[in-house]
């Protein structure tokens, strides 16, 4: 019988044809927070593409790098703890490795948490794909007094191990060179010494399936159908699965053990054993970082620190963001909008409007994207990469539960105070659709910087400081109430907080910039089309006089229910494009920016609250549709419109009777 090389990994007949552009594919695999992105970003630079693995919401980042004459396709898989099936990320990583079959794996491992990381490493070894281990964070390890015998580790695992400090660029070249080394083989790999029952079962399988690899048989015993089917020829896969199924059943019944649990235990045991053999703890001095860390989540200092951090964030985004926004807007006005207006002065009003409004839409895109999204993402990346965000989630988990979310949701909610768009983009990190929905609704209700401009510019300036603050309090109450109701009522999976608290570390500049750039770019792709189209439409509608018709049509609501002047309706429509525009147009229609002359304090208050609630801006709607789909987006919009109507009416009624 033909002795086929099934032993060397996934069968050739299902190996995906490699794109002709690249000579080799390298995959980066490792736990979250090990410094994988620092490594990856230094290798690939700016030209990276983020794409979802087909049929999933999991993102893979692709980049390319040239080494010598070879062009390499480098893929960054999401951080995972194991090649199991407990999260979407893990499933996709496993599928990718088995299906796409990269030429080499670079397993980035954290030297300060070696035991935990080796759990994944041992699983990766069983895939029989050529592999190199990058032992990262060597500097942090030294700080903690940990010494690792690299050669011994390499010999034990049977693969090259290269010490690296990704944030300083140390060891990166060596790692890649080791990965490209032609002599890299999959022989002499470490074999995990499993439980005797499992070993005996594997021996039994060896008799019937001599050519199939050790790792594949282990997975077969674990009933991992997907793994086996992707690694063997169909006929062999089915046979192996059937045979191993009965063996597994026998063992589990006879000895009352679960094979999966035992394998997990054995892997951890093995990881611990290896770590004990290659590591020496020189002395553990309490490092400065550890001291700070214990304070961050302590009783009072923790929360105070968190509030301070949030306020600081808010402040920075406001000042820096606001400054940049002004700059961009004036640039646009001077070089684009004004010239366009004069050029088109004589043209047909419809054409003029459509073009000018479209340009305004583009301006809006840039004026939101760069000041707010970019600045926010830089700050968010810093919080995330430093590890602070996990501490914040830890502190707030209890509170976020009251609104049906768990601690991790704090990121999107905080982001929402700056701009709803990146906030909704970041709901991706939440585990369940239910949480994403709740978070998105709450974000839509959170006053973003644009809305804050209206609250402070209108109410704060013309009514009073305390009035403005009261609006924020009102918003907070509405958010909590909505969250509470949704938390109780919305169906779906409820998960509890289970999250690793990685050690604090200094964030890496390059990784931060790369991440921020990717997010800004993504926003442009998603929001721009809708912004421009929406603006053009608005221009068209305006020039055709439809807006006047609309204004008259809704006058009963505007004046009757809200108690606002009729022209406020038009201002509100413009607010859909960009919230601050509502205020700007209001001034234009009122004939003055001194609102005290045309509006009563009650009307100003009402207007501010309504603009905060009524409907998300176009950019937000674009993102909502992208993340949750049209149905949910429409539901959220209808909800906010209704809520605005109710609250607006209430304010008017209460105000009238005061």
């Amino acid at each position: 019988m033909e002795k086929t090389e099934i032993n060397d990994g996934p069968a050739a007949n299902i190996r995906k044809a490699r794109s002709a552009d690249f000579d080799m594919t390298i995959a980066f695999v490792g736990n979250p927070s090990v410094g994988k992105s620092a490594f990856f970003s230094r290798l690939t630079g700016v030209g990276v593409v983020v794409a979802n693995y087909p049929g999933t919401t999991v993102e893979l980042t692709h980049g390319s790098v040239n080494v010598g004459s070879k062009k390499l396709d480098v893929v960054d898989l999401p951080g995972i703890y194991s090649l199991g099936a407990s999260t979407e990320d893990e499933k996709v990583a496993k599928r990718y490795l088995l299906h796409e079959y990269p030429d080499v794996i670079i397993n980035v491992v954290d030297a300060t948490r070696l035991e935990r990381n080796l759990f994944l490493t041992l699983q990766l070894l069983e895939l029989n794909i050529p592999m190199v281990v990058a032992l990262n964070q060597m500097d942090a390890a030294k700080e903690m007094g940990i010494e690792i015998d690299i050669e011994k580790l390499s010999k034990t695992l049977g693969v090259p191990v290269v010490p690296t400090i990704a944030t300083k660029g140390v060891g990166l070249e060596d790692t890649v060179l080791a990965a490209l080394d032609e002599k890299l083989s999959i022989k002499n790999r470490h074999r995990v010494h499993y439980d005797n029952h499992i070993l005996r079962a594997i021996e039994k399988l060896d008799k019937d399936f001599p050519e199939i690899g050790y790792g594949i048989k282990v997975r077969a015993l674990e009933r991992d159908q997907e793994f086996v089917k992707l690694s063997c020829r169909p006929h062999d896969a089915d046979l192996l699965l059937i045979t191993s199924e009965s063996i597994t059943d026998d063992i589990e019944k006879a000895h009352g053990m679960s094979i999966s649990d035992t394998i997990v235990r054995d892997l951890y045991g093995e990881a611990g054993y290896i770590v004990d053999r290659v590591t020496t703890q020189v002395e553990h001095k309490i490092t400065f970082k550890e001291r700070i860390d214990s304070v961050l989540t302590s009783e009072y200092v923790g929360i105070t620190g968190l509030v301070a951090a949030l306020l600081l964030t808010f402040f920075v985004v406001f000042t820096v963001g606001g400054f940049l926004e002004e700059g961009i807007v004036s640039l646009f006005e001077t070089f684009l909008i004004s010239p366009a207006e004069s050029l088109l002065a004589g043209s047909h009003p419809v054409i003029r409007n459509v073009i000018i409004y479209s340009l305004l839409g583009v301006e809006a895109g840039f004026a939101i994207a760069i000041p707010y999204i970019a600045v926010f993402y830089v700050i968010l990346s810093l919080f995330e990469d430093s590890g602070y965000l996990t501490r914040a989630s830890f502190l707030l988990d209890n509170w976020t539960h009251k609104v049906g979310l768990h601690g991790r949701a704090i990121i999107p909610l905080v982001l929402g105070m700056g701009c709803s768009v990146p906030a909704i983009m970041s709901t991706r990190t939440l585990n369940t659709v239910r949480e994403k929905r709740i978070a998105s609704v709450l974000i839509a209700l959170t006053p973003c910087s644009a809305r804050t401009v209206i609250i402070i510019g209108l109410v704060g300036t013309f009514v009073g400081y305390w009035a403005a603050i009261s609006i924020y309090v009102l918003e907070l109450v509405i958010i909590f109430a909505t969250g509470w109701v949704l938390g109780k009522g919305l169906p779906g999976e409820r998960t509890g907080l289970i999250m690793e608290m990685a050690p604090l570390r200094k964030p890496d500049r390059r990784a931060t910039f790369q991440k921020t750039w990717l997010r800004v770019r993504e926003f442009m792709y998603i929001a721009f089309p809708l912004l421009v189209a929406g603006s053009a439409l608005l221009g068209l509608v305006d020039s055709l006089g439809v807006l006047d018709v609309f204004q008259n049509a809704v006058e009963p609501i505007t004046v009757g229910i809200f108690g606002l002047p009729a022209f406020a309706a038009t201002a509100l429509v413009f607010g859909i494009l960009r919230k601050e525009m509502a205020l700007q147009i209001l001034a234009v229609l009122a004939g003055t920016a001194n609102f005290a002359l045309v509006l009563t304090p009650l009307q100003m208050y009402s207007f501010a609250v309504i603009t905060t609630i009524y409907i998300p801006c176009v950019a937000t709607i674009a993102i909502l549709k992208h993340e949750l789909g049209w149905k949910d987006t429409t539901a959220i919009s209808l909800f906010t419109i209704t809520l605005a109507l109710v609250i607006g009416a209430l304010i008017n009624m209460i105000g009238m009777n005061l």
């Binding site: 194991s82 199991g84 035991e115 935990r116 951890y268 209890n398 690793e500 050690p503």
Partner: protein, 226 residues
């Protein structure tokens, strides 16, 4: 249900063994259960094949260690269920007993553990039937949510859903693992240290993880195992 039948047999063999002495004769089993001797013989053979009983022709049948474990497990389940029905749901004791006889075969471990958990949390003394009864609340099993910073222990039970247990296991937390409480927020989240990793757990998850205080010898690994 085959499972019920097996458990019924095991319980009968066990009780007959206790009252009339081992080994138990097949005809006694037949009489007790009201089945024909032929069916009993067939069943006893099946049980022997499964490793739950030892049968010697002309001598009789007795439970193996495996069989004893299974009977004890059912007994305990019955006890917890009956206690739950009578004390928590306020059912008549006789009704509770009869219902428990049926439910002990159909309720899963997860459900029974949750009932046990509930009894313990509400200070309802279980008063297990015999001294060997393996009751978590008799020994010093504590819920993770009740521990303080710095406490150490071994995880003995997690009454969580499978997805949560899987997530925990991929992070290194499995039953039998040594853990240390690193951070604890009053009424809030807990974080534990296991195998050099710190894991934050929400309160509702921590409540369902039970720990025996004090460190256990590290799980044997590598060549020392077996």
């Amino acid at each position: 249900m085959i499972g019920d039948r097996i458990e019924e047999y095991l319980e009968t063999i066990d009780s007959l063994g206790k009252s009339r002495g081992t080994p138990v004769k097949n005809k006694d089993i037949a009489e007790e259960l009201g089945f024909s001797q032929a069916s009993v013989s067939e069943m006893v053979q099946k049980l022997a094949d499964e490793g739950l009983v030892k049968h010697e022709p002309y001598h009789g049948t007795e439970l193996t260690n495996q069989g004893i474990l299974q009977v004890n497990s059912i007994r305990r389940k019955h006890h917890v269920i009956e206690k739950f029905l009578s004390d928590v749901l306020a059912l008549d004791p006789e009704v509770a007993h009869n219902e428990a006889c049926g439910l002990e075969h159909t309720l899963s471990d997860l459900v029974v553990e949750s009932m046990c958990n509930y009894l313990g949390n509400n200070n309802i003394d279980c008063k297990p039937a015999d001294g060997n009864e393996h009751c978590p609340f008799k020994e010093s099993y504590v819920s993770l949510a009740d521990l303080k910073e710095g406490d150490c222990g071994t995880v003995v039970m997690m009454t969580l859903s499978d997805p949560s247990k899987e997530r925990l296991s991929s992070l290194g937390m499995i039953t039998g693992e040594n853990i240390e409480v690193k951070r604890k927020q009053k009424q809030g989240s807990t974080s534990i240290l296991t195998r050099g990793t710190e894991i934050a757990l929400g309160n509702e998850i921590a409540k369902k993880i039970f720990v025996r205080l004090g460190m256990r010898k590290r799980y044997p690994r590598g060549k020392d195992r077996n």
